[in-house]
Amino acid sequence: MQTSAELMSDLVRRIVAGDPAAETELVQRFSRATSFLLRRLTRNDAAAEDLYQETFRLVIEKVRGGELREAERLPGFVSSLARNLFLGSTRRDVRRRERHEDSEAAESAPDPAPGQLAGLLARERAATVRQVLAELKNDRDREILTRFYIADQDKDAICRDLQLSDLHFNRVLFRARQRYKELYERRKDA
């Protein structure tokens, strides 16, 4: 069985050799993570989609051109390129605003307001989380989740305050997320 480094070397070698199937494989392999990273950075599906296309266009162009010297670093190469493209687009937006081209920028910028679908998904997500919270055995577990996720407190601080062990804390988080996953998948199947 090939190691990850061997897989990457093979993939890069085939792309450099002009194998279109290898390019498709590269996109499939990094699609989910690239999409996740860009959605997280942009907080805007339309902007993330634009940067996603641009990321793979550039990655393939650079790999074909032999710009990636260490093939085992391909995942990091893709992630840093996606991040740099995001930073570049943010800088461009800032410069446009500084040049008082707001109206032009506003016309070309994607609408940051969440669409109806995003709103619906957010409400469904909240309803699922409410169900998870309602199923928790005690108030302290609810408090752990609230302090960790909403108040953004450190795990150590929460454990110290509530006199919890790391193990208990991890267990609460793990169980809540597992339950969320089950409900999420059930909802998806339905």
Binding site: P75, V129, V132
Partner: protein, 275 residues
């Protein structure tokens, strides 16, 4: 930290949650991104944890909005009662005074008629005075009724602007910076305010709860004060939750300063409003 991260290291150091909370250093973050781009377990965990986290924040936002609307509704009722009482007094006092004066004049007129039969200049004078007072009383009454209608309309407009139910109110958690730390830098908090938003909710966690109450001052980049409030008490999570009208925050940079005691700076929350 290893140059190329492995999954055991990620699990051991709880990097999924730290990454989602932006608590990793730049080098750690880059290394973790390089790792999860080729790790199906991590990307699965990231997606699920991120989704759950977003759900938790959405629940908190919904609860905050509900609580804010309940607070505003309560305030409106109090205001309504206060306005109602004041307007009632405004109308009742002068009318009462006019009625009392009318009664007095009518009594004087009746007495004059009873004691002095026939035409008397005093009776004519009293009748003229009474008639004039009735007319002016009617005029005053009409003027007061018009004022009352205007006040009712103004109150209805004000309530419409501030107290009506709102949905999808944008909620932002502001991060504090240390004094002077952000000099010359772009604000760490970027608030993307939807164009149609009427209000915005700002949540700020206080670094210290040494004071019984706090004062918040919101200033524009140039230092002009936009808003301020005192006697603010943190909630059970040591956080202040502020509901501000969106029109108060046009595009630009702002600084929200929280002070405790006699002007002791507790936290600085610079932010930028973007669309």
């Amino acid at each position: 930290m290893p140059d190329l991260m492995d999954h055991a290291y990620v699990e051991e150091h709880g990097l999924v949650e730290s990454y989602l909370k932006d608590r990793l250093s730049e080098s750690e973050r880059d290394a973790f991104e390089a790792h999860y781009f080729d790790c199906s377990i991590c990307i699965e965990q990231l997606e699920m944890a991120s989704d759950f986290r977003e759900g938790m924040l959405q629940v908190a936002a919904e609860d905050t909005v509900r609580a804010s609307i309940a607070g505003i509704a309560l305030l409106s009722w109090r205001r309504r009662l206060a306005w109602g009482g004041a307007l009632l007094l405004l109308v009742a006092l002068p009318l009462g005074f006019l009625i009392a004066r009318n009664r007095g004049l009518e009594q004087q007129l009746a007495e004059a008629r009873a004691t002095t039969p026939g035409e008397d200049p005093r009776i004519a004078q009293l009748e003229a005075e009474l008639s004039s007072l009735r007319q002016s009383g009617a005029g005053d009454r009409q003027r007061l009724e018009e004022e009352l209608a205007k006040e009712r309309q103004a109150r209805a407009d004000a309530e419409k602007a501030t107290g009506g139910p709102q949905v999808n109110v944008p909620v932002f958690l502001l991060a504090a910076v240390r004094s002077g730390e952000d000099a010359g830098r772009e604000p760490v908090n970027r608030l993307s305010l939807p164009a149609g938003a009427d209000s915005v909710i700002l949540t700020l966690e206080l670094a210290t709860v040494d004071f019984p109450s706090y004062r918040a001052v919101l200033r524009e980049e140039g230092g002009r004060e936009v808003w301020q409030a005192g006697s603010l008490r943190p909630d059970s999570r040591d956080a202040l939750v502020l509901l501000l009208p969106a029109r108060m925050l046009p595009l630009g940079d702002y600084r929200l300063t929280i002070e405790g005691g006699k002007g002791f700076a507790v936290g600085d929350y610079p932010f930028r409003i973007v669309r």
